[in-house]
Symmetry: C2
Subunit: 342 residues, 2 copies
Amino acid sequence: MITGGLGFIGSNLAIRLVQLGANVTVVDACIPGCGGNARNLDEVSNDIRVAPFDIGDSDNVRPLLKRVDVIFNLAGEVSHTHSMEHPARDLDINARSQLLFVHECARQLPGVRIVYTSTRQVYGRPEYLPVDEAHPVAPVDYNGVSKNAAGEYHLMLTRSGQLDAAILRLTNIYGPRLALNVPCQGVLSVFFMRLLLHLPIEIYGDGRQLRDPVYVDDAVEALLRTGAAAKLQSRIYNVGFPEALALGDVAETLCRIAGAAPPVYRPFPHELSKIDIGSFATDATRIRRELQWQPEVSLEDGAARTLRFFQERLSDYLDPAAGYPRCALPRAAGLDKAPAVA
Amino acid sequence: MITGGLGFIGSNLAIRLVQLGANVTVVDACIPGCGGNARNLDEVSNDIRVAPFDIGDSDNVRPLLKRVDVIFNLAGEVSHTHSMEHPARDLDINARSQLLFVHECARQLPGVRIVYTSTRQVYGRPEYLPVDEAHPVAPVDYNGVSKNAAGEYHLMLTRSGQLDAAILRLTNIYGPRLALNVPCQGVLSVFFMRLLLHLPIEIYGDGRQLRDPVYVDDAVEALLRTGAAAKLQSRIYNVGFPEALALGDVAETLCRIAGAAPPVYRPFPHELSKIDIGSFATDATRIRRELQWQPEVSLEDGAARTLRFFQERLSDYLDPAAGYPRCALPRAAGLDKAPAVA
């Protein structure tokens, strides 16, 4: 089972699992703003079951859990900016639905292996580089808090013997099926979107902040190794590229591969600076040692493959006539209403 | 402002603040099961404003935030057993309403001092004793996850300059106004409730697990010092008694002070053993050094004061004719429904 299997990483994982001969069920409610796209599974649509439910909808999820061997739990909202404007929505998607889901998994499939995709954002502004798994959790946005809480639910149920969970803390991932039409999902989807719309790439600040992007096939390999390991030595694994690059250099590389003009540098927007984490570099020693994972695809290769994919299938992801994609969520909305708690 | 000010610790804090001449607003929705009791504020009811709103009800909370100097944020569900049977309710109360509340505080009162009461339960089963603030967060129940997430929201908004928050991680607190009629709130309210109903105290297991109970006036003093400090050196403070005692010895002391028969030992119930944390002892060095706090009231003194209070006012807390109080929540309910997230 793959939750969030219509999303960017989830769909790449689903296709790979079908290629490997697995029987795959995708659970994905395609919540607006989260990046799900039904076209992502076009090439395997006859070989896969897609259940259009929220993972917190226990009555509908329960029957799907029968005969599940491994759960790849990728459903969620990854946008930091969405979380700052709609904090309760972020909590509902990332923590409340996840809580209901893992609670149901523990009841129906006690001890099941479940791999949850978290984010390096839970570390916040790094106290040191590269960041290993012992680095304090100190997020600088609501999204980091809710993603971490969901991870804690997995770990708590593992400590009490009800699940066999692992958390992957992913750095920036890029590749085919990036949600180009969700510009709030991260800097790399914006870069590729702008290249494909023939717009200049814009860098906020001096572009010297470090990033360590991983190509999606490598991220999928990390998920598979974590899901398949006979016994996990650890419960939390960082996933990032061993060598970090300046974000400006990442952008220059993408522009070069795309044959586009070099990036333009802009002042850092004030509202983003509050949740900016500065430089980030991953220490992925643990997953290399324990699961023999390391990324195989260079940025040049990965960028070329990504551009090739989207050049063939751009209309599944962007409407070039419509120009720059708009955020799926209203901006600066009033605060979400509190639910009844009784 | 005191959230949860109709509860056990909140009401003791409210009464002390009125005695000190403060202008106090209590926000408390008296959610069934959380231990709020309107009788708790009887002696100050003319000197205090009580707003019967959920703290996540931003429209009603917003006007109350005008001219607030310090927020003592005690609202929440503290029952571990409630959380295991109603996990989404636990998240809604402890994380969702808290998120909406701190988000509103940050908007209306940027930089305000806010003291949030968390729990030693976030540490889970201690890896070492005594437990200092550097101990890993590793809760063994849903309640520990949601309480920790609420604390993380406070800390995140403090990191980004929007609040000036501190988290107190409280050990077992006891004293006048304990929620005797909420038997799921903790071992000490059960002990006092049974003594006052002339029932034998029951100890699960051999009674050798360590606990370090703090009398409520001392906990209130810790809250006041944290709220009043000109500048906080730290953001997380443990609050516990410097010497831990075996739980059996705590019970023996209470029985002796009450003139009751000694405790009875029972096998540990299986469903509780999964969320039992074994021995706990607090390292409260940080709050002693930085805020000069240490408990003043011995267990003997505190127990005597507690029994005296309840002997005079038992009918405000328990109906002896009704016998053992029943849990306010249905047991073993089906899983809470997921909310709409769109």
